[in-house]
Amino acid sequence: MIQLLDISKTYGAVQALKQAHMTVAPGRITALLGSNGSGKSTLIKILAGLVSPNTGQVLLDGQEVFIRSGNDAKALGIATAFQDLSLVPMMTVEENLLLGDEPTRLAGMLDQGSIRQTVASLLERFSLKCQPQDFVQTLPPSTQYMLEIAKAVHRRPRVLLLDEATAALHQDEIDVLFKILRQLRNEGVAIVFVTHRMHEVFELCDEAVILRSGETVKSGPVSDFSLDDLVYYMTGQRMQEAAAYEGLTHKAGQAPLLTARAISLPPRVKDITLEAYAGEIVGIGGLEGQGQSDFMRALLGASQIFSGQIHFDVAKAQFKQPADAIKAGIGFISGERNREAMFADRTIAENIFAGNTAKGRRFTFLKKSAVNRFANQAVDTYQIKVGRIQDAASTLSGGNQQKLVIARWIAMQPKLLLLDDPTKGVDIHSRLEIHQILRQCADDGMAVIISASDTDELMDIADRIYVFYEGMVSGMLEGENKTHEHLVACMMGVCHIQPERQEGGA
């Protein structure tokens, strides 16, 4: 029914889609698969009217259509549940569900009776327990995702797009959702289902379309694929038992550099206990939004914990702001480069020098040559490819930008380095280089805590892995326990592996 032909899209220097194509048939559930950054979300956003493709055609029933806005998509019968949600947080459940689709009666006034009825039946159908008058902002993430889907389903679309709808859902909610999706399929709705969970593909989907680096590499009925095939087409590698990095175990009797005990920080972090020793790389795993970022920011003092205790370097730590934590010897690298790490309009030299800028006496004379020497040294050490260090940092590629941020911190020699998904959107080559730099730092005695959404990355680099699930530690993987299967199982919350040495609880 819907065909996408030769779709390309570039964001600045990044090519998100390269002549991708996809066909969606009525009464079928099509799985759209691919690893991070393969262009799935961009494809969905093009169909939803949020992104305009550079080239390519969209055909609906054989006719070329142009989807220029959410309104166009609605008119064509396309409804979307977005990965990053399209709810307005400060509005109520009721207002959100019917937004842009409000029933009216005489003279264009809202039909309150009909609204109440519709919302009640929708909430019932999706087994949602929230009240119509609750503000969406105050609801737990899983409920918000269900609302997002309910909103899309309510439009009675011909084409329903679900972008990683199940990532934040609980099992019972997933059951409800699948029942509804099968029902819609039988009614002839075409459904596109983006997911990272392979078992859902086999359980629910009829067709599969696989993207890799913005290109459609394979499509066909799900029954034609084995799990191995899917992973092969997504990653370009056959699954194999690669010799997993075993990981160091810290020396007995050594005191931990950082101890976080029973940390809670609403709404995401409930009860996290974690230790990190000098000289090791601690991984934090988990699906997105399980409290990893919030926990790291709490360690840094960027947000104040609700309860629990943090000990750093023997002393009890109560950092009021990141400046305090950094003074005490903590460094922080965010994967949200543009928002939280880069000074895009400033020069490369100034970006590298930024950590030094933040420290020390403010009203002293800074020689320009001193700043440049500092920057040049870092550029050489970490092999950042630059034109001139006086160019704006925005001229660098993503991978080099991230190396620049890492250089900034490592030059400061912190005792503990926190990295929040640092290799997001970084090419594989830069990623490996970053891993080497981090390993070198750990060997030199730094403690490194790294959170990553990519499981392979965690397995490769971390000595020990704490897996977060719903704001709690669902598993601490170490030594023999550190396997891919355990990691994935803990991420889904279906397995609990606790460290052998139980620390005293809260």
């Binding site: 509005m91 264009g108 105050t138 409930k270």
Partner: protein
């Protein structure tokens, strides 16, 4: 009987949850202070309740209150307009000059004035909504532009309004209800209708998150333009009230409504985009009006008690601006209150949300 009490209780509790609640409390407190101070200063405890007394207070301040109500619409859609004050002067100037220059009836001047206000609002809307320039600085630029227009239409303060008109504006219906209150009620009625139409919901969505509103099939630019035009209409009505109140024209008056209306709105509980309602702006403005009135009575009380005490208009202006700044300071507290409400909501959900998966 008990169901009636229950429903009152319920609607009270619901009102407590609305953003306008803090503004309402401020309004009540200021009203009390005013009643008491006026009672003390005039020697008659119930002086405030004389229709002449509250009538003239309302009459003189209706334009300002309307400016805050108009401003609140813009804040809801995520815009703001600091030149709203000088727009009142524009309406005033057109109201006076059109009948004077062309010899047409007064009401034709009024229609022309509302038209002028709509055109200016459309121009400002085009700059901020279509060209996506920062609304705050667009307003700043338009203060200069509108000032220039005003003075070229009316170089010096001048003009008259027929007596029958301003007398009518200053009168009391049935001896107790000031005409200006009816104007305010009519504009607020307009809001109540708007709120119950899809456009009302779309305004909140656009202010709260333009991208998501767009994804839901709403055109953010159109919604922001509509909000600007409705604001322009309210400014037109307010400008006519201003003309009737002063019964003359002045091209450079009311400029400070711009900043004051903004602060009133924020104090009344409006956020920058998608949070609050017109009631917030209204209560915030009333708060200012009543406090200022209270200060006036306080000074007149002092001059009665302390012999030789007199206050220049400079002092009164100074005090009223200090009150404005204190009002800004108070937003720290009111905003904190709202944050707390929200945070409590979070923590409640957080506790409720605790669940054990099988």
């Amino acid at each position: 009987m008990s169901t009636f009490a229950d429903s009152i209780n319920l609607s009270l509790r619901r009102f407590r949850r609305t953003p306008a609640f803090t503004g309402f409390i401020l309004f009540v407190v200021a009203l009390m202070l005013n009643i008491i101070m006026q009672g003390i200063a005039s020697g008659r405890p119930l002086a405030f309740f004389q229709p002449r007394s509250y009538g003239s207070l309302l009459m003189a301040n209706t334009p300002f209150i309307l400016s805050a109500m108009a401003q609140s619409l813009l804040l809801i859609v995520g815009l703001l307009d600091i030149s709203i004050g000088i727009q009142f002067a524009l309406v005033n100037v057109v109201c006076i000059m059109v009948p004077q220059a062309f010899g047409v009836p007064v009401w034709v001047g009024w229609i022309a004035a509302i038209g002028a206000s709509l055109i200016i609002s459309a121009a400002i809307g085009a700059c901020s909504a279509i060209l996506r320039l920062p609304a705050m600085l667009v307003g700043y630029a338009f203060i200069f532009i509108i000032k220039g227009i005003n003075v070229s239409i009316m170089p010096t303060p001048q003009g008259k309004v027929p007596r029958a008109f301003y007398k009518a504006y200053d009168s009391l219906v049935a001896g107790v209800i000031p005409v200006s209150l009816i104007v305010l009620a009519a504009v607020f009625g307009l809001w109540l209708i708007l709120k119950r139409r899809p456009l009302g919901k779309h305004m909140y969505a656009v202010g709260g998150n333009p991208r998501n509103a767009f994804a839901a099939g709403i055109n953010p630019v159109a919604v922001q333009m509509k909000a600007n035009l409705i604001k322009g209409f309210i400014v037109g009505v307010g400008g006519i009230c201003l003309t009737l109140m002063t019964a003359s024209g002045n091209p450079l008056q009311a400029e400070n409504y711009g900043l004051r209306s903004l602060i009133a709105c924020i104090l009344g509980g409006l956020g920058f985009g998608g949070w609050g309602s017109m009631a917030c702006g209204m209560f915030g403005a009333w708060f200012f009006v009543l406090i200022q009135n209270t200060v006036y009575y306080f000074f007149s009380f002092l001059s009665k008690v302390v012999s030789g005490f007199s206050v220049s208009s400079y002092w009164q202006n100074f005090v009223s601006d200090v009150i404005l700044l204190l009002g800004l300071l108070m937003t720290i507290i009111t905003a904190k209150e709202q944050r707390n409400t929200l945070k409590e909501g979070f923590i409640n959900q957080f506790k409720r949300g605790e669940r054990i998966d099988p």
